[in-house]
Symmetry: C2
Subunit: 422 residues, 2 copies
């Protein structure tokens, strides 16, 4: 029965029962963590062969990968990920171990020098603004905040960012220079940006002639079901719309091979690639090509990556199913929370009663369950409705996911009962 | 006999002989390269074991190096290089594959946010200037140029930068925010910064309260003789002088293990380290700790690095000796060039007759010998006397070093004879 349908007495009884359950929880001395989207040891083990690769030190074209050079990255690895991302091999750069670094560099190059189609460096403008679909990825927001870029939010829908809201913002304000998107299995909503949404974003009129879409396709291949989402081909869509330099695509193997020792990629128009490497050349003589060769040998080809991702799915899909089961069985009837059922990615986005997310996180912490801070999925950490909680179930073993989620459910109910006046 | 002492007839005969030798050279169709300071394949082979390391994936403290995290780098590798660089383990960060990237990041953080002891971000100042000892490292200069920082030159002496010249500049101009130094076996002069010079630079009064010494100790362990230079302990010198945050130290294993797949280091006061990682955290979740563990296992300890560097010396010292032999035997008596005899590092700095360096490089190119562009060792590529040429003999096999240097000597003599009017 919905909590809001209970009588005052019933609600008081319900609250007492949940409070007792919560006190039991605290007594157990749990130490569980659902905070960050990290792969588990079992997932990392899938790539253990990397530790004894590469065989030899020569690339297919004879390059000695041990030495300096090759700013765009090793050709055979770029080839594999060009195929996977649906871009040309001249449209992709393989870099270091972090796409976040490539995003940061790209942002700084725009601020200092301007983009491929900028009249001026962004940094000379009075203000620079970015559109942030919410809920979204906290590190995207903290990067912008660190460099003084103002953030404007639009709602994230199940089909991607709310296009009408985006269009209304960008049409007249030339200081809005870009937007973030996690197009496939978004962090944390799990939304997949449809072809229609992607097409509209690629084609829309923007007051800024050098508007950029930072297309962070971090989970492009991270399917949890047989319905494997195909990412929209944003580079082609932008090109046919007459805005070839608008999207800059980011991806990495951080959640494919080793989270700390993978390879990151940047893709864009050939002009964007030349622009990026032109600036990068001032701070790098080339990426770690040994790690590129290591990855190329490990995967073999694009299908090698696809096969590898199915092994990940086998490990993590049961954890996501368990999150769903506990949420459904513990919270379903009470109608105090909604959540998504992601078909891929690393997160479940849980919306609790307005004004209770912080309390849920606080209660969970006191019971030994670490949750991402409430508000983390919003710019400046500010969730205006204080309702969103990001759950990351990949890292803990399955039995800990169960325990942690049961604890979360209890905390949600305790906080909801409090909120409703019990 | 010195060329300047020849009679007009003698000089004409000499020029004809050299010109004939040069024409012979051109006829040989050489394809030789003395441009960049890259390790040779034989040097890279010394570290081939790295390709099948690490054994396991756990650090000494139990960290799973495959996963995210650990922004300051793996403790055991930091320990080895803290000992080698003479700094505390809390004063050093291990990063990615390029110290150049750490230098660039450090510079950008200063421009955008200001340093640990800055009142304002450098970028809000009307102008920012750096002192560049010349000849110096071209990538230092192009980085500054790319970010609009004005460069002021001071002479590099055999003991390091000309302290009096530096002091005269920094005393009154608060827009001079920093300086470059390659303290040990400088690129390209081979100079070693003495304790006295380092001490003076650490202690000097600067108009800018947040003056920085970018102490690029790229060749700290790259000895060519038994007289192994000890780098001045710049962090301690600065601390006792009351300027603990002035030096920022950079180093890497690029010319110790793999040029493209080594590990870079940044060292400074603990406050500097906190400042650096605070900014870095916005663009990175952590460095490639697998590569850190790989290197830690490969070296074992600091002595492992020292032993390894002796194996490098055995390979490259004969090439440096050959450069000296050819220069001495071909140019010595003619008194048209001077050069250094480095006790370490990667370069020989050759000064030819004023106004002839560009011509020498042009002649060499036409004869199939690639040399670093004349002027490369000066800001904006502008050698005011057009006399300096940087020679990098590590990469080619010994017999090619011989051929290339004989060709260079012939070009120097042809250009000198031309200059003297023959």
């Amino acid at each position: 029965m919905a909590l809001t349908d209970l009588s005052a007495d019933e609600l008081r009884d319900f609250a007492a029962t949940q409070r007792a359950a919560y006190d039991d929880l605290v007594g157990k001395g749990l130490k569980l963590d659902l905070t960050r989207g990290k792969p588990s040891a079992a997932q990392l083990d899938l790539s253990e062969e990397l530790l004894s690769l590469p065989h030899g030190h020569l690339a297919a074209d004879g390059t000695d990968v041990r030495n300096y050079g090759g700013l765009t990255g090793l050709a055979e690895l770029r080839g594999i990920f060009a195929e996977l991302l649906g871009v040309g091999t001249d449209q992709i750069v393989a870099g270091g171990n972090a796409s976040l670094t490539m995003m940061s560099d790209t942002l700084l190059y725009h601020l200092f020098h301007g983009g491929v189609d900028s009249e001026n460096p962004w940094g000379v403008e009075e203000s620079v603004k970015f559109i942030c679909p919410v809920p979204g990825y906290d590190r995207h927001f903290s990067l912008l905040e660190h460099y003084g870029i103002e953030m404007l939010t639009v709602p994230m829908t199940p089909d991607g960012p709310d296009v009408a809201a985006v269009q209304a913002l960008v049409a007249d304000d030339p200081s809005i220079k870009g937007m973030w998107i996690v197009p496939t299995y978004a962090n944390p909503s799990g939304a997949v940006c449809t072809l229609e949404v992607a097409s509209a974003l690629a084609a829309m009129d923007t007051a800024a002639p050098d508007f950029k879409i930072f297309w962070d396709n971090a989970y492009a291949f991270h399917h949890l079901t047989d319905e494997e989402a195909k990412s929209a081909d944003i580079l082609s869509l932008a090109e046919v719309s007459g805005h070839p330099h608008r999207p800059i695509v980011f991806a990495s193997t951080s959640k494919i091979t080793f989270a700390g020792a993978g390879v990151a990629f940047l893709a864009g128009s050939t002009e964007t690639i030349a622009w990026y490497t032109g600036h990068l050349a001032k701070s790098s003589i080339g990426p770690d090509k040994v790690n590129h060769l290591r990855h190329a040998q490990f995967f073999g080809d694009a299908d090698g990556v696809r096969t590898h991702m199915r092994a990940h799915r086998a490990i993590i899909a049961p954890k996501f199913e368990e999150v769903q089961r506990v949420l459904r069985e513990s919270l379903g009837e009470h109608e105090v929370a909604t959540w998504n059922t992601p078909a891929g990615g690393y997160f479940v986005s849980l919306d609790v009663l307005d004004g209770t997310a912080s309390r849920v996180v606080e209660l969970a912490k006191a019971a030994g369950v670490a949750l991402t801070p409430a508000g983390a999925s919003f710019p400046y950490g500010d969730d205006p409705r204080d309702r969103n909680i990001r759950l990351a179930p990949t890292m803990p073993p399955l039995d800990e996911v169960t325990q942690a989620m049961q604890a979360v459910a209890t905390c949600v109910l305790v906080a909801a009962a409090e909120k409703l006046g019990a």
